[in-house]
Amino acid sequence: MSALLELRGVSKRFGALKAVDGVDLDVEAGARHALIGPNGAGKSTLFRLVSGEMAATSGTVILSGNDVTKLSQVRRARRGMAQTMQHSSLFLPQTAAQNVALAAQRHLGKATWLLPRRQRAVDARVDELLDSVDLSQRAGVAVSSLSHGERRQLEIAVALACEPRLLLMDEPAAGMSRAETQRLTELVIALPREITVVIVEHDLDVVFALAERVTVLHLGQVLLTGSPDDVRGSAAVQEAYLGSSNRADLFAPTPPPDPSEGHPVSNLLAEGAFHSGENGREAPS
């Protein structure tokens, strides 16, 4: 299996700031690849560099063996890249169905027709996709009236309507309840292998449920790429998380705090998460 997406030395500077610094990355076709890292690691920026929304300062982006670095976001989208945004980016005054239809009609090649026409193929596809994200009941509802969770689901339906080969998901579980996150995870797991998924996430439960490979970014550079277990056991990754002042999720489900453990901060420690040497358990903060 050849790599669907290859990044070679991709960098992005903003003046003196190197938001992304020489990132090398391979994503195999059909992979489920997660991108994690503390806040400010450059994950979202990297995402934008891959989708073409932002132009890289240096480096190459290769999609299916073709160099797409110079291509615009539009052209990359036409080559099979789709994405879901961190903050739902939908067509607010339009209905859920219309949103999906916009994506589907472009893919089905109907988007330049100047005459009104009944588009059965598009309609069918829209119904199918809305059904797959459990939004069939809400097809005729304007996005502005949909709940946050519903919008996130719609976001996925829209992305899938593009029949992507590469699906980039930027924090899809953000702001979701446990139940919604569970549904999301199932949905992504159920996606066919024709679609390669790269997902940026903070919710590490989601990451470890979905991902087969994980890349950890820190300060714009790749710290580690490996299996989820590799990442869990890596001291360097722990340091990266410890060093940042942000309280990210733990690497394992949090048990209730044990008051006998002393300092309130250490009550956030996870049981059997990972160890940092002999000093007992440390948690990423």
């Binding site: 903003f14 700031l17 938001a19 920026t45 934008r48 989708s51 073409g52 929304e53 932002m54 132009a55 615009s72 976001q73 539009v74 989208a77 036409r78 789709a82 994405q83 945004m85 903050h87 980016s89 939908l90 067509f91 607010l92 005054p93 339009q94 209905t95 169905a97 219309q98 999906v100 239809a101 916009l102 994506a103 009609q105 472009r106 893919h107 109907k110 988007a111 330049t112 027709w113 100047l114 005459l115 009104p116 026409r117 009944r118 588009q119 598009v122 309609d123 829209v126 097809a139 005729g140 509802v141 304007a142 502005s144 829209v158 593009c162």
Partner: protein, 352 residues
């Protein structure tokens, strides 16, 4: 569950029949005024394609209206007045003008687009004033011959009215068809969230330019009809005031609804041209006041009022009902994360 209300269709048909019957029961002056209303309604509807459907607020749309009027006038005077040649020429030349200027204009958004189109409009008006050899300068084109059908000049007001009505309907249908087509859906998508459209693989520039040209062409058609109705074209006909009033008509009528702006335009003509003389020619003052009130009181224009009354049921064909859920205020950039002051649509924006 599907209940496709035939009401709008019935209303449209009834209105059409009523309009067609007008010369049979109205005196010449009101008929002539109604012809003017149709012409400006067509202008406003063509502008709505830009403003309400694509989200491009143009303050220079009268430029293409004027280009069409001058072209039709010149063709009638110097070549032939045989219908529909002057009109066809008007459409073609206006489309070319829209293409040439739109190529630059649609790269900008929001108020920048507003300013650019304002500049374009002023430029074309100055052109009309200074290119006296062709356009007659400040005096304009006067003595435009009546349109001829089968060699016979159409002079009677009633026949002129029918001519105008026929082509106004054609123009309106063109805009209507485009707005309900997949292309029109794409324009709405660009209006509601242009960055998302890019990530879906649409090239916004091409769509906006095509929309701009279509709107300009139909405005040119309206201008050609003006030269038929007025038999005179002067620089103010394509000036800032006409552009501003057209935009006001769209706003008052309800951007995006197409029929709202048509009504808005009829209102403008009513106040300015019909009652204007009674107000010492200061109908524009009343219009300004009406508009100010409308901005506060009618968020979505007259069409906005109507849609809250006759709310439709959800449509089975998801691609077919563009009015469903669209509250197209002129400034509806709520979902656009870029806001509307980004100037030009160039390289991907640098957002860290």
């Amino acid at each position: 569950m599907t209940s496709r209300l035939p009401l709008p269709r019935l209303i449209s048909l009834a209105v059409l029949i009523l309009l067609a019957a007008v010369p049979l029961f109205l005196a010449p002056f009101p008929t002539d005024m109604l012809a003017r209303m149709l012409i400006f309604a067509l202008l406003a509807v063509s502008l709505d394609l830009l403003v309400g459907i694509t989200g491009l607020p143009s303050l220079g749309h009268a430029a293409y209206f004027g280009v069409g009027a001058y072209t039709a006038g010149l063709v009638s005077m110097h070549w032939t007045a045989a219908a529909p040649i002057p009109l066809l020429a008007a459409v073609v030349v206006a489309a070319l003008a829209a293409g040439a200027t739109g190529w630059l204009a649609v790269r900008s958004h929001g108020v920048f687009f507003l300013m650019l189109t304002l500049a374009i409009g002023e430029l074309i008006q100055q052109l009309a004033e200074s290119w006296s050899d062709v356009t007659g300068g400040d005096n304009g084109l006067y003595g435009i011959p009546a349109v001829e059908i089968g060699g016979a000049p159409i002079v009677l007001v009633g026949y002129v009215y029918w001519y105008v009505l026929a082509f106004a309907v054609v123009g309106f249908l063109v805009i209507w068809a485009v707005s309900r087509s997949p292309f029109g859906a794409a324009l709405r998508g660009i209006r509601d969230n242009e960055p998302r459209m890019r990530s879906l693989g649409y090239s916004p520039f091409r769509y906006k330019l095509a929309g701009f040209v279509i709107a300009g062409a139909v405005a040119g058609l309206a201008g050609g009809l003006l030269s038929v109705q007025q038999r005179l074209v002067t620089p103010p006909d394509l000036g800032f005031t006409v552009s501003a009033l057209a935009l006001l008509a769209v706003a008052v009528g309800g951007a995006g609804s197409l029929w709202g702006p048509a009504l808005g335009a009829a209102l403008v003509v009513l106040i300015r041209d019909v009652y204007g003389p009674d107000l010492d020619g200061h109908g524009t003052l009343v219009l300004g006041i009406v508009f100010i009130v409308a901005v506060y009181a009618l968020r979505n224009g007259i069409a906005g009022l109507a849609s809250t009354r006759f709310r439709r049921r959800p449509d089975r064909t998801h691609t077919g009902d563009p009015t469903q859920g669209t509250s197209a205020t002129i400034g509806s950039s709520e979902s656009s994360p870029d806001g509307d002051i980004d100037a030009v649509d160039n390289a991907p924006s640098a957002k860290p």
